[in-house]
């Protein structure tokens, strides 16, 4: 999943990657900082290095492979992993013996033994700190036996063990004897939620999820029925749809979840097995033997980030996370310096990506006046029309150092290519991807009037775009290019049989040449972008999204269905950290309504919608007199929000002494806790049940927040929290601890054995089964407070008009759970706040800024160039069977009832080719992959006499 991002940053004209470097100082002021960097030596020039790997192959020195967490070895000349960006090797100076072998072998002359540490400076307007985390090192926790017993590994090491590129090539093995384990135990909260032994009082927010995932993947890899047990205090699968995965692991795949505290791990010396000694919920000390133990280590801010913070003069919290305010979640204590990811606080990948976009929004807003002043762009010459010309094909065969040339007889393949139809020029190069070869290709295109180019080298996935740009640079249409992959699909897999590999290379080149002759020049459609934005929903998320866009200089129409802005947050008073929500909301509303770029439309209802990215049209009815407005806009941000579930459980609505957390918040705000002598809170009301499988994420902290307010106002009040798992993730764990310290009593119950609530004249009577005491407890309460879950606002009508996809719980579906958490599947449409899933105000603000940032990537362009690889219909021969309409995963082909034809809008076609494949009459063709352009390759292959 991360590879495409690696490639994108690696290739982006406006991202300058500076590796092996650290920050020495940041001087100056917001908008104009001077940064001094320390550039450590790499000893291999990343510009010259082609990543061929000859240096590593000949390096005689072995070193510990830190990428695989020390479980195997690498060479002193190394690259961390095959997909690395930049694709350049480096030399590990600590182990290199300076033998000179790599220098002799490097054909690209990239080795620099004399490389030294340097300093360089940058001028930047904003700084974003995303320095991340490291796994907690459990070496000092001797009771767990890490470092002492070979089969006790950390979760980071276990990730590498499971990985196909890991030390055991993806085979599930334990380190001691490379035997496949029969039983694995995961021990949770190692280096988290532990102020005694390691000082990290926070919850790392990710370990429960990765432990469940590791158990599930390990079960897939195992040849036996692997027994997986996860020893935990609480399972905190609080994210959107995370609970479903946990339940699948528990109920379907038999992963055991054991509520416990681990006492010690000891080894059985004869077998290398491990005995886990633990205390269960009933207080019994038990032992169980496992073949392997995985320590679920928490996330921790590395030492280098503390130094970074000092150099930048930004404040850290007591756990060394960057200090931020609940209402400005990505701003550090220094103006113009922003933060995101785990340096901001423990969080998972979607959370990090969301915050990264939020930080980009904040950093960009400060510099909006200077947008585009530092960016580079390439001027392309006008395209020449070669459609009437006979094909004149140039073939460039790559040696890839010795990656191809060491196996395949490259000169022979080149000579063979010269004899193929329409080929007028052939050459072979040491590295066809190098900059000097690009220049050479350009020269030859002009000199030989080439109108088709074939490169026989590596994978189009990584290199096709670059070669296509080379064609464009000399006025040749980019689609007149074809690649033959004679490395990944040939020399690498037939390295032992060079003669056959050479023959196969010829076959692949013959096929590529045949196809290239059939290629047509294609025109990329250019669409204009309307710079106006539409934000639907005027709560905290919608308002922040509108402000984020307004600050970047874009006009925004903000729709709110109610008469006033604010949404659900109007019902709230304080964040758990003590942030004043009312004051914040008032300021936010005033900022939004007074912003000259934002038009607020209250009492608004969407009644019609059409268009595509860059060019949407939405009709809105406004106010009570139903005034109609048509808004033309380039992007949409959906922030329709959520509400508190109205309980049907526990006599809610029948007895006024049963309230929700939101109502309790009001009571505490108005009357205080002075007259409360006993309060019982019940968690997971309307969440984690058959009707709503998911966790509502916010209710545990809500209970803790209100419990703390009660205890602080009136320490005499007895507060009981009846819970299933306490999910105070991240830094909120401190408040949970504080609540326990102040005497709030937490009692766990199982979902099949919920508490019983009865009304009586003297108060409410709550009966609960206590696990530790193994008996029923009766608690008298003057208030029973239900932690009611969150629900999405009803958006049925809106979705009917705008055709947005929702999950069964009514939350909108993002384009990708992990990598595109605020993008919706349709281009130009974004999502934030509770409309996406339950979340805290702080999280909604970050997500709103993220949506604004994602939208800015669209709005900052005047036009969008679309790929020419789209499907088109031959309407004359089409029989209107509607197979394409039914098959398209993006609902692009439509039947125009007026014209009686199938239409495929190239502006929204994704070019996947499914319709072309299923069309029974072959009347749909996919540009660049037309039937004869594919079939001619097969013909060419068979013509070789296979």
């Amino acid at each position: 999943m991360i590879s495409p991002k690696l490639v994108e940053v690696g290739r982006h004209l406006n991202v300058n990657i500076i590796t092996n470097s650290e920050i020495k100082s940041v001087e100056g002021e917001p908008g104009n900082f001077t940064v001094t960097l320390v550039n450590h030596p790499r000893y291999i020039d990343p510009v010259k290095c082609t990543g061929c790997g000859e240096c590593a192959r000949h390096c005689p020195v072995t070193a510990v492979n830190s990428y695989n967490k020390g479980l195997d070895e690498r060479r002193a000349a190394f690259i961390e992993y095959p997909q690395a960006v930049p694709l350049a090797f480096g030399i590990d100076a600590d182990t290199c013996v300076g033998c000179g072998l790599c220098e002799n072998m490097c054909v690209a002359k990239a080795i620099r033994y004399d490389d030294t540490e340097r300093e360089s400076t940058l001028t930047v307007g904003s700084v974003i700190l995303a320095s991340g985390s490291q796994g907690y090192d459990p070496s000092s926790l001797d009771y767990l036996g890490y470092g002492k017993f070979a089969n006790v590994v950390t979760s980071e090491e276990f990730e590498r063990i499971l990985s196909a590129s890991g030390p055991y090539r993806g085979h599930l093995c334990r380190p001691l004897d490379r035997e496949e384990p029969k039983k694995i135990a995961w021990l949770q909260c190692v280096g988290s939620r532990d102020t005694n032994k390691c000082g990290n009082g926070y919850c790392s927010s990710v370990c429960c999820m990765y432990a469940v995932k590791e158990a599930m993947i390990a079960k897939e890899h195992a040849h036996c029925d692997l027994d997986c047990a996860i020893f935990n205090m609480d399972i905190r699968t609080f994210g959107k749809d995370y609970e479903k995965y946990y339940l699948r692991a528990k109920d379907k795949d038999g992963v055991r979840f054991i509520k416990s505290r681990v006492h010690t791990v000891t080894e059985v010396p004869e077998t290398g097995d491990l005995i886990v000694r633990f205390v269960n919920e009933a207080g019994e000390i038990l032992e169980e033997t496992f073949s392997m133990v995985v320590l679920s280590v928490g996330l921790q801010v590395p030492e280098t980030s503390k130094i970074l913070a000092q150099q930048l003069g930004i404040e850290l919290d007591k756990y060394n996370f960057a200090l931020t305010d609940p209402f400005t979640p990505v701003s550090t204590s220094r103006e113009g310096v922003y933060t995101c990811g785990v340096f901001q606080g423990p969080k998972d990948i979607p959370g990090s990506i969301t915050e990264a976009s939020a930080a980009a929004c904040a950093a960009g807003s400060d510099l909006a006046a200077a947008r585009g002043t530092d960016t580079k762009f390439i001027e392309m010459p006008d395209q020449q029309d070669v459609s009437a010309e006979t094909p004149r094909i140039g073939v460039f065969v790559c040696n890839c150092g010795i990656n191809i040339g060491g196996v395949v007889n490259v000169p022979a393949v080149t000579e063979y290519a010269a004899g193929l139809p329409y080929v007028v020029y052939t050459d072979h190069n040491l590295f066809t991807c190098s900059q000097d070869t690009q220049d050479k290709i350009k020269e030859k295109i002009i000199e030989y009037k080439l109108n088709r180019v074939v490169v026989a080298s590596c994978s189009p996935k990584t290199h096709e775009q670059m070669f296509m740009e080379t064609l464009e640079a000399c006025g040749l249409n980019r689609y007149l290019f074809e690649m033959a992959n004679i490395r990944n699909q040939n020399s690498w897999i037939h390295s032992k049989t060079p003669a056959i590999a050479t023959q196969k290379a010829k076959d692949l080149v013959r096929m590529a040449v045949a196809r290239s002759a059939t290629l047509k020049q294609l025109k990329e459609k250019v669409i204009s972008v309307n710079k106006q934005a539409l934000v639907i929903g005027g709560g905290v998320a919608g308002m922040n999204a509108a402000l984020g866009l307004g600050k970047q200089g874009f006009q925004v129409a903000l729709l709110e269905k109610e008469a006033e802005l604010g949404g659900f947050s109007r019902k709230l008073h304080h964040t758990i950290e003590g942030g004043d929500i009312r004051a914040y909301l008032n300021k936010l509303v005033s900022d939004v309504t007074s912003h000259d770029k934002i038009e607020v439309l209250t009492g608004a209802r969407v009644v019609d919608f059409s268009g595509y990215k860059g060019n949407f049209t939405t009709d809105v009815m406004l106010g009570s007199n139903n005034e109609k407005r048509t808004i033309k806009h380039g992007i949409i941000i959906v922030a329709t929000g959520g509400k508190e579930y109205t309980p049907k459980e526990y006599a809610y609505g029948q007895d006024p002494r049963v309230v929700t957390q939101v109502q309790l918040g009001d009571i505490l705000e108005e009357k205080g806790a002075g007259d409360l002598s006993s309060v019982v809170m019940i968690q997971c009301v309307g969440s984690r049940n058959d009707e709503n499988i998911n966790c509502s994420r916010i209710c545990c902290q809500n209970a803790v927040k209100n419990a703390l307010i009660i205890k602080k106002q009136n320490p005499e009040t007895n507060v009981f929290v009846l819970y299933r798992d306490i999910r105070t993730y991240g830094l909120m764990e401190d408040f949970y601890k504080e609540a326990r310290n102040l005497g709030v009593i937490f009692i766990r119950f199982e979902s099949e054995n919920p508490p019983l609530v009865e009304s009586s004249p003297d108060g409410m009577m709550v009966t609960i089964r206590d696990h530790i005491l193994q008996r029923n407890l009766e608690i008298q309460a003057d208030l029973v407070c239900l932690s009611a879950g969150m629900m999405a606002e009803d958006t049925t009508e809106l979705c009917g008009i705008m055709k947005f996809n929702r999950n069964p719980e009514g939350y909108f579906i993002e384009a990708h759970v992990k990598l595109r958490p605020v993008d919706m599947p349709g281009d130009g449409i974004f999502l934030c706040g509770t409309a996406h899933g339950p979340k805290l105000i702080t999280e909604a603000i970050a997500q709103a800024q993220a949506a604004a940032s994602r939208a800015t990537t669209f709005l900052s362009k005047s036009e969008i160039k679309l790929s020419a690889i789209t499907a088109h219909v031959d309407t004359e021969h089409c029989v209107k069977c509607l197979t394409c309409v039914r098959s398209c995963p993006f609902n692009v082909p439509v039947f125009n009832t007026e014209k009686q034809v199938i239409e495929i809008d190239e502006a929204i076609c994704h070019g996947c080719g499914i319709c072309a494949g299923v069309c029974p009459r072959e009347t749909i063709q996919l540009n660049y992959y037309e039937n004869d352009q594919i079939l001619c390759k097969i013909d060419a292959l068979l013509a070789g006499g296979m």
Partner: protein
């Protein structure tokens, strides 16, 4: 790079080239700002490039 002429620079420095740093860089670069992406390691990718599969889709992290 950078602006010596005016007060405000159109460039941003992102420190750390893990998934967060890369996403911030791409958003900014695609919004017409120039980005310097700095990492202490020889390679971008950070912690996510060291994972096997990811929760809850079981997609390959790489």
């Amino acid at each position: 790079m950078g602006s010596v002429r005016g007060k405000t620079s159109g460039s941003v420095m992102v420190v750390g080239a893990g998934i967060a740093g890369m996403q911030a860089s791409l958003d900014l670069a695609n919004s017409d700002y120039y980005v310097h992406l700095v990492d202490k390691l020889p390679t971008v990718g950070g912690m996510m490039a060291r994972l096997d599969k990811t929760f809850p889709t079981n997609d390959c992290a790489m």
